[in-house]
Subunit: 586 residues, 2 copies
Amino acid sequence: MYRTCTCGALRLTDVGRQVVLAGWVHHIRRMGALVFLDLRDFYGVTQLVADESQTDLQEILREVNREWVLQATGMVRERSSKNPKLPTGDVEVYLAQIRVLNRSDVPPFTLEDESDGGEELRMRYRYLDIRRAPVRDALRFRHEVGRKVREYLNAQGFTDVETPFLISSTPEGARDFVVPSSRNPGLFYALPQSPQTFKQLLMVGGIDRYYQIVRCFRDEDLRADRQPEFTQIDCEMSFVERRDILEMFEGMMRFIFREVLGVEFSAFPQMPWEEAMAKYGSDKPDLRVEMPIVDLREIRKGLEFPAFDAVEYVGAICVKGGARYSRRQIDELVDYVRQPQVGGTGIVWMKAEEAGLKSSADKYLSPEKLRRIADAAGVGAGDLLLMMGGQLRKTQRVLGLLRLEVARREGWLDPKVFKPLWVVDFPLLEWDEETQRYYAMHHPFTMPHAEDLELFESNPGAMRASAYDMVINGVEVGGGSLRIYDRDIQAQMFRALGFSEEEAEVKFGFLMNAFRYGAPPHGGIAFGFDRLCALMGGSESIRDYIAFPKNNAGRDVMIDSPGQLSEAQLEELGLQLRPKFKPREE
Amino acid sequence: MYRTCTCGALRLTDVGRQVVLAGWVHHIRRMGALVFLDLRDFYGVTQLVADESQTDLQEILREVNREWVLQATGMVRERSSKNPKLPTGDVEVYLAQIRVLNRSDVPPFTLEDESDGGEELRMRYRYLDIRRAPVRDALRFRHEVGRKVREYLNAQGFTDVETPFLISSTPEGARDFVVPSSRNPGLFYALPQSPQTFKQLLMVGGIDRYYQIVRCFRDEDLRADRQPEFTQIDCEMSFVERRDILEMFEGMMRFIFREVLGVEFSAFPQMPWEEAMAKYGSDKPDLRVEMPIVDLREIRKGLEFPAFDAVEYVGAICVKGGARYSRRQIDELVDYVRQPQVGGTGIVWMKAEEAGLKSSADKYLSPEKLRRIADAAGVGAGDLLLMMGGQLRKTQRVLGLLRLEVARREGWLDPKVFKPLWVVDFPLLEWDEETQRYYAMHHPFTMPHAEDLELFESNPGAMRASAYDMVINGVEVGGGSLRIYDRDIQAQMFRALGFSEEEAEVKFGFLMNAFRYGAPPHGGIAFGFDRLCALMGGSESIRDYIAFPKNNAGRDVMIDSPGQLSEAQLEELGLQLRPKFKPREE
């Protein structure tokens, strides 16, 4: 037996016990012949002690270094100077015997909570990075979240069904990863971007309630919080209305936040997409701060302020207590909105100071006009109003980003506070100027609102979808919809997307075929599991919650992947590289 | 709300309740104006009734056909003729209202327990096949097994960690599926054949106890019970001896068999590989029958029977009560062993009839000699002894197959009886004549027996591995090993496999590198989840337990995958098809 207990187990009540521990040398401090050694395993750290009386141990301990693997036998005793930060900090093990299980080279970076290693280096040695407490804890946290998700869904009668990974290419989506088939040279499987089609087929197959925690693949350009492979909590239910689905998954979120974090939620607000855009400039509003966008289109009429007259839309946010902002602080906000990725042009500001209203547009706006704006926007004493005008959606978006930037600077976005909501009533279709056609905002199987069905012919752009996103703290943690199960509505949808019957048949043939045989009313949702874990754990980066993440180029620098294939492998697949990608001959 | 209860819920205690059900029309019988309709959902079947008084319903019911989706409202009442086979068979719902939720074409095969559709047709319409009770039940059964596996491993402190799917090609294994990278044209990821390397890296990373129920991929020729993608219960533990691992996973098996099937196991026998080969001619013996192989090498010496003298090995199985076998029955067994896939040459038989011992080799074997054989082989009155001679391993294998064939014919292999065991002490290495080198029988990281380490130089072929297989009813449900964590032993292993240090570095570089930083003693196991479910469910075919299986050519005939890529897709990947695989121009 390698150990009688773990390095996280010993307490004062164990004093006097003979124990065997096994783990890694976290620290070793030599004070003359007195040696203090922190032994670490998955469960914690225990202090081991040897003194000058133990000459045989001294010989081994002279050699021992960080990250060596030891088996240590000894007696638990009370520590003279206790460490209250450590659960085992009241005791130490007075060594009787040490066995070196393995030696270690000196690690390329320190394995402390804050490491001295850069991200690239830590990724290359991810197996060492995982030894650090924050990474280990993140992986354990993920395990706990997954466990609670399953516990909830199992209790609700969902069936965990594994859907295939070697499937066929998805039309209308992001770029697929493909997999050449050696048994069918020249032909390719594709890896799923999500099990969407298969979960709908399971509903046609009568499975009633399906879930899966499943890997998905998207061959896209990577952003900070995107990985080429990511994990979804994928769910689908039959014989349900939208209300049933929202209740079910609001319940799931309430359960896992309570069980994992001890956080209680009341009912989630349901906010129409239109309202989210108008009040927060975003389809994923962060409700940890109020500070909604105020629409100033009505009030501008009498202002005769040219900057506001010429534009489609004028709006503002009111920063409570912001009148104290210095000129420089306001300039920083102006710089922020002018960044290319934000895309604003400028800010017209107004402060409610003790001396009265002051504005960057004093020249154009008399005190009475400022008062009218202040009243309309709810500006109180000491507040700051940040206004801008421009195109409707774009200006709302910039105001939404500015709102978050102010909140960040004020420290109003506490990662330990969680504000969930449902965003509902998304538009069904989006017009694309370039290709001059509509695209499905969610996907082509999303059910339109029943009362909007007649708009298919007259005004499809105004139709609303039975789609919903779950948003927490400005993060879209999940999204889904009721699906079309009626062939006539599906045909109308395809017409709206500009597909002929033949095109629809080619693109979605087997799903359409399945729908001939009694598809039940159904709908579902998918949650981004990596992102949900990061959000719950209070981290900005999903990579912290993935055991072996890839870098921004989609590379795994630890295993050096992707890599070259041999000529023989390519031949088996019926493939050859295009000339410019051939490796140089040696 | 679509339903107040499911089609599996109603009992006599519900009589008088007004209910709403939703589901598919399983059967519809019209007896004049009296209509009986079986409505089916995931949970069961409920009989609905309408009579001539319901004229408005009659109109709808005239049209309704099999697999239409209905919402039915009515009153629960007691049935006059009850159906004891159905949990809901005591009641029926007297219809008040019907809403057609969807129509259905006539399904291409019947959706009964025994369908009239062939496998190919059912695979093409798998979403309909899944509606059949046996398939639905198999998927639900799989869910239950997985749930219990997780319950056990979670309780034992294992952490569920997701390892990547886009990795790099494995040396020394089966053929990998590869995934070209559009961001790195000309370079490829590979899909994992198992997370072996990553789970070992997690141990190096200090995760201590890891598990995952995970998809694996092998681009191999498919046999009846192989799929190109399959699921493993993959586990690894640190600071353990072999004993710890066997106990842990014997405990898991005991738990899931008890919880899912109500089957209790006592301690699993541990059988050395050598004994399994000698007594059952297989490294996965089926212990539902005894009938071990008897070694007749000692006894043959005085027999002077040429057929037994000239060969390396002579063995037999004794069929209890087999003396009643007719000549034709014995001939069928001879035909069986002579099949090419069995590879035997013939059988020398002996019957212990009331009149005395009779044998196919009467000419050579006197009654005294037959008696000596019978005594040695434990042949009792009424038994049949089936003997053969030849090469040691080959003859044992044929005898092992014959043993199973006899047991099958006798009906001794009850799929509801489960006989588990551990096969241990596998050979470490296998000699390959063709390439004139040793291959690792398990994999190159398998720890040799400590007492065999000195044989690395003198006789590597005789070394035993710290590897173990869990076998139930002749099926290898899981296998694993202790891993090498000592760099010197690993170097010896690579030398035994004929790799130079450079080759080992190229093939296993990043794992070897990881092992420089204090790898703990560790070991693990992986279970074939599809196969385990099939075994527990009493089925021969793992396909029954996979929602969307592929056929023997690795094709998914439902979605018609794999398929062609467009020229644009190939170009993005830096690939082109070799000329002979180019699709014909249209």
